[in-house]
Subunit: 296 residues, 6 copies
Amino acid sequence: MAAVPGLETVHWLEVYGASGSVPVVRAGVCEGGAVGALVLARPAARNAWDGAMWAQWDAAVAALRALDSVRVVVLCAEGPAFTGGLDLGYLAATLGRHTAGGSDPARARARFLREIAAMQAAYSALEAAPWPVIAAVHGACVGAGVDLVTACDLRYATRDAYFCVKEVDVGITADLGTLQRLPAIVGQGAAADMALTARRVSGEEAAALGLVSRCFAGRAEMMEAVLGVARDIAAKSPLAVWGTKRTLLRARDGGSGVADGLDRVALHNAAFLLGADIRETVAARSERRPPRFSKL
Amino acid sequence: MAAVPGLETVHWLEVYGASGSVPVVRAGVCEGGAVGALVLARPAARNAWDGAMWAQWDAAVAALRALDSVRVVVLCAEGPAFTGGLDLGYLAATLGRHTAGGSDPARARARFLREIAAMQAAYSALEAAPWPVIAAVHGACVGAGVDLVTACDLRYATRDAYFCVKEVDVGITADLGTLQRLPAIVGQGAAADMALTARRVSGEEAAALGLVSRCFAGRAEMMEAVLGVARDIAAKSPLAVWGTKRTLLRARDGGSGVADGLDRVALHNAAFLLGADIRETVAARSERRPPRFSKL
Amino acid sequence: MAAVPGLETVHWLEVYGASGSVPVVRAGVCEGGAVGALVLARPAARNAWDGAMWAQWDAAVAALRALDSVRVVVLCAEGPAFTGGLDLGYLAATLGRHTAGGSDPARARARFLREIAAMQAAYSALEAAPWPVIAAVHGACVGAGVDLVTACDLRYATRDAYFCVKEVDVGITADLGTLQRLPAIVGQGAAADMALTARRVSGEEAAALGLVSRCFAGRAEMMEAVLGVARDIAAKSPLAVWGTKRTLLRARDGGSGVADGLDRVALHNAAFLLGADIRETVAARSERRPPRFSKL
Amino acid sequence: MAAVPGLETVHWLEVYGASGSVPVVRAGVCEGGAVGALVLARPAARNAWDGAMWAQWDAAVAALRALDSVRVVVLCAEGPAFTGGLDLGYLAATLGRHTAGGSDPARARARFLREIAAMQAAYSALEAAPWPVIAAVHGACVGAGVDLVTACDLRYATRDAYFCVKEVDVGITADLGTLQRLPAIVGQGAAADMALTARRVSGEEAAALGLVSRCFAGRAEMMEAVLGVARDIAAKSPLAVWGTKRTLLRARDGGSGVADGLDRVALHNAAFLLGADIRETVAARSERRPPRFSKL
Amino acid sequence: MAAVPGLETVHWLEVYGASGSVPVVRAGVCEGGAVGALVLARPAARNAWDGAMWAQWDAAVAALRALDSVRVVVLCAEGPAFTGGLDLGYLAATLGRHTAGGSDPARARARFLREIAAMQAAYSALEAAPWPVIAAVHGACVGAGVDLVTACDLRYATRDAYFCVKEVDVGITADLGTLQRLPAIVGQGAAADMALTARRVSGEEAAALGLVSRCFAGRAEMMEAVLGVARDIAAKSPLAVWGTKRTLLRARDGGSGVADGLDRVALHNAAFLLGADIRETVAARSERRPPRFSKL
Amino acid sequence: MAAVPGLETVHWLEVYGASGSVPVVRAGVCEGGAVGALVLARPAARNAWDGAMWAQWDAAVAALRALDSVRVVVLCAEGPAFTGGLDLGYLAATLGRHTAGGSDPARARARFLREIAAMQAAYSALEAAPWPVIAAVHGACVGAGVDLVTACDLRYATRDAYFCVKEVDVGITADLGTLQRLPAIVGQGAAADMALTARRVSGEEAAALGLVSRCFAGRAEMMEAVLGVARDIAAKSPLAVWGTKRTLLRARDGGSGVADGLDRVALHNAAFLLGADIRETVAARSERRPPRFSKL
């Protein structure tokens, strides 16, 4: 079943929609449960996001959050493309539902607002999780795909990958996070360039822009490296990894500058530094062995 | 008259100062009115900003805003330099006016504050406009020139262009936007480097820093490419282009982080997504023709 | 004594701890007092931060602030490494003091919070100073070293330098400024990459990321160039340099966006532009001589 | 069953914990489903919040949110007190669980943080709901009770009610919302007075401080008036009521001031004003009949 | 003509719409030009805001701004009511224009957004003016009237005045400033009460809530007192009055707390304190005469 | 010596300026060191702030911070007035120093900015202290006096007290905190009224506005009550008192709203709740004795 190289040993979880119907998002774990995998698995449709994908995505993320063994999650995709973005049939049906005659347009828009908010929440859930998420992108990463990967903590890509903020080309203002998160990653100018021209940014340019940390020649190399990064992070103190992720995101969103962020991280460490992990690290170093950390 | 390559077919507008006196800022449209042009046209003085330029600039921007056909604007310059920044004679006269003896220094400074605010507003007007502005920079872009181009949405440059935050070298803290907008474009470190050392950043380095999206070998190539980008953007849904520009700027300025920005863009699309442009896009695709959008 | 190339002519100040005990942080001035030097001087311990370094650091910064001749400060280090970060023995003693049995854990943590805040303040003091600080990094710059250099205004490195946000590897959430300041410098993605993986970033990669302004082949070249930059800045209007530094930092920390920042810098210049430096600049230019500015 | 005067006609919902075990939070609807009721129903323990109450609270709020007929909710309590705050036995058990020997104190605190966050979310859910919540307070409203009512939109009290931010008296920094929300209601000085002295504020003083909108002689009068207010609100446009609640909360939390809030509410009305409710209002007025609005 | 008691000596200005057509907003000055007056002058329609009022309002405010003699402005109204709010015919026409069939609903809403923004700007112009505005309210102050008076600096009312945030009763989320500005004046709870219930708040209750500074028995007493306050303010240093108004508004809107506000006001006074007014004040005191200040 | 009723048993500290020269600010402790006192002690000059007072104030606050026994501080004044504000002679000398001919006006203003910042810091130090400060105000509290008391946590006054934001009457924009802190205490309207009219607000009106918590008939009654409040607070958990003060101030200054504040206080309690004080409270209650807390 594992169409993604490197995920052969993953233990797949049963998630909503995965039994009885065809799964289009997979969730699983490997490395003794420490490394999670989220796989977009609707390759015949270039992993386009339809209603089933949205539903299974929420379930898959929830399933991984429920496993307290997980310390890091890899997000990747089956088939030739990472994702083509929103499924156009799904989009058309959504629009149709909200613009049908007879109904009050204001109520239709209020319902539509709630649907947008639900989709935003589906991706923002990655930021709320206590573990980092690493996106491994090959092939097309279009529209909602860019929204999705900018909500991840780390991003890697293959040379044949391309990123495209496609929304402006279908008459849409991107609303699932790209316009909020991308500027902090690549700068305001590059984000405007991508979002206003909808041009394709290759894996190599993405690396130069800082959109991905590294660009690989092929998918197998990328997955091997990404899983290596994941294993490394999984071996670190989960307290420190969670604290680092949380603090970086709070710093990005904190409206009151560095002084405010410094106060918050000081509180954080007043709460969480005086614990077992730092002692275990010191002990392991003196005993020349890898440290062992318990789950969070 | 069109000293800028590629602008031969522009229809120049009559703007304040353009009749009777010599125009030093030109505004015009091409592509059936969809692409606007703003041209710094005081080449003999290296397009240095004197009182006439400030006055004509406001009038030129207003003239383009009054034309509802415009969907994107290209900002460029006549002569060998994009702009040398503030005209030193104008600066000296301004300073003299505000430091003349006899007058209350506090009132002089209050008047000076209003003059600064007016100049800031002149450049910020580009951000308030409903269309993106693309700066095409060749030669020197110094002092106020950097303030100006950082208020644009997209920037391109030639290899012979250079950017210089010159203010510190004339004893000034830059106050027309560079210190606020440049860090979001090139990062805090590069912005500090440029602003504290006043060193020249070439077109190629500007591309590497993300200050411009691309660097071209010559001015003609740049103008051809920039006008191509402009035509592409002009062919897109003006609703989506306006929404994308607006959302990017609100995300930059919103003090409350990504969650706040997501809520705002969800409201935006609750208001503006359910319209003609997305339907036209879908129809055009199925009919294999370019979409046609009405003005905003 | 001067183990750092290029600092031979520095006049070293007597600072707290420098007499009687062995100095581990040195402060001095050269260029007639206009260029300050802060030197990490505990090379035998790779300039690791122990109690003596923290104490002497505060004293050294205070000593330079007390000299009103200083216009710019260079921060560098003796020995083979810039700094290995927190001294592990010091860290262990600190932890031991706060987790000793018998004491109320909440009070222990409140004391610990105060210690963190004091260390944060030690580095933030560089941002509060009226002169820019230029970090010149060679060899290892690990853990607290990254906190320190991100609080500087400008950064340069040698090719053999490496930067490592090491905290996550010792079970710690970095709390001395890296997680707040680094993303503004290199972008959110690169910052997350460095902080979550603790990987080493070389001097060359640091230049590509914007973490340093330039990477040099060797230490002597770097110091020569850095001192040249320092001399240049020292020759500029101290009013303009201070205003530029201050405005850049306020813009970074201001929660209310560009409009708010523009208002603040307009106030700044209403107060400080109408002074001697801009007149001196104009006069010097017309007389073809370098301008001379009095101290701030 | 209805121990609260005025709630005799409420149709009680089956919520989690309500069947099989004794319900300690009740949820119901009256007025044809338009007015919801949330009732603290553990009167024998002065409605102190133990584990069962927290669990049933979440279920009760969710049950009301699931009913799209609801337009406004009244929050009140059975027995002689509104609520005595956190159940001390529950608090002791919680503390014991987190301070038990053997466990890593940092992990214990991370778990504790999650518990606090869950309790915060339980009360914040009232702000996220699309309908206003009206608190009707009699007798003691202590500790968590103040956290709870400050998360409501409107508050009323009887003369015998008293409000007490009790936490400081049990060695706690209040962490369920009082310190964040109360200052916006009564001002910074009065909030500090209540929170630092833990003194009792009577229903009458609460009205003078603006903590409640009105103070009533007795419970029956209060419930009659509160249900009248609820019926009035339920008869208004649900679109306008939701928009007003939402906009007031966004204005409170928006970090960027009035201009930012004006932009957001303009977007809100661009989306939601052009609908049926305003037309229905105008029609009803001209026909001299009450308007009829469909559900949101 | 002067239907407002106390304005008999006002010199009325010719403003847009005032000649040829019937003036519905009047602007004038008295006290040698130091005290301005803005008068809602459509008493037959209870000063309801129709297109003419919006147009003349902008012109009237601009006319007063153009007179640099003005130091304070009194806002009051002719006839039995301060204002009944938006004119319902104007509202209906506006809605009709934006919901007419045939047009793209998204473009209609974009135009509607611009109209809302223009109305917001009309009231916000009072905050941008360099002089304080004092509202003197008698009779009904409904809907847009509350938006208007909350944009003033000071408010007074008669006992027969009442304030009513009426929007929710016509199916509207108030969008001209009330929901943003009222909570800072009366607190979050009282603002929610007024906005969600649309109940009438009498002049006396308004005084108790802090919505007005004082409540008067009748209109003549109020106008006499208000004009006295205006004369007092007009006799003060215009620099100090402008600085105080500006600083209070920046403090309200500044997202970064007191420290940020303190820095800004320190900059303000670095610019504007060292002037003639403070010297004149000291001189006047020693000479036991009233100080005389020149215009701003 | 103790000219303030109720302070007879205070043990006065030797602070800077208190020996050799005449003390004008006194600091002391009573109640076994738990209650601190800060006394303005220049009654012959109505406690006007001259250079000696500023210097001694800093020393007095520092002396109390150095005593870790202190849990709460009472601020009061000797003589017939709380304080008349800035000493006019001191103000004149300061102005003279900064406007003297010959010096560069920009540098003079930069120095002046530093002096303002130092005075702001002197009052803000009360907010940074770990104990609450209670102001007890009798007689005049004018100008800088209002800046001072708004930086306190609690305020009480006598009936004969009056508060006057006098700055506007001497041509000054108040810059020591009133314009930033007062609106959060009394609302934006009342703050504007006080600051723009400079009118006197009596003790009784101050209580009605929320500027003081309570108004007393006389000074002796006030001091007795204030010392009672101080003793009560001193008997509470210092951890909880500090946490409450700190959280209230962070909530006021946090630019990102309630959700951000909730996260911060959750971190705070993750760090500090699981300690001795809550256990001591529970134990003391079951043993029916007052709790005993150790110092922070």
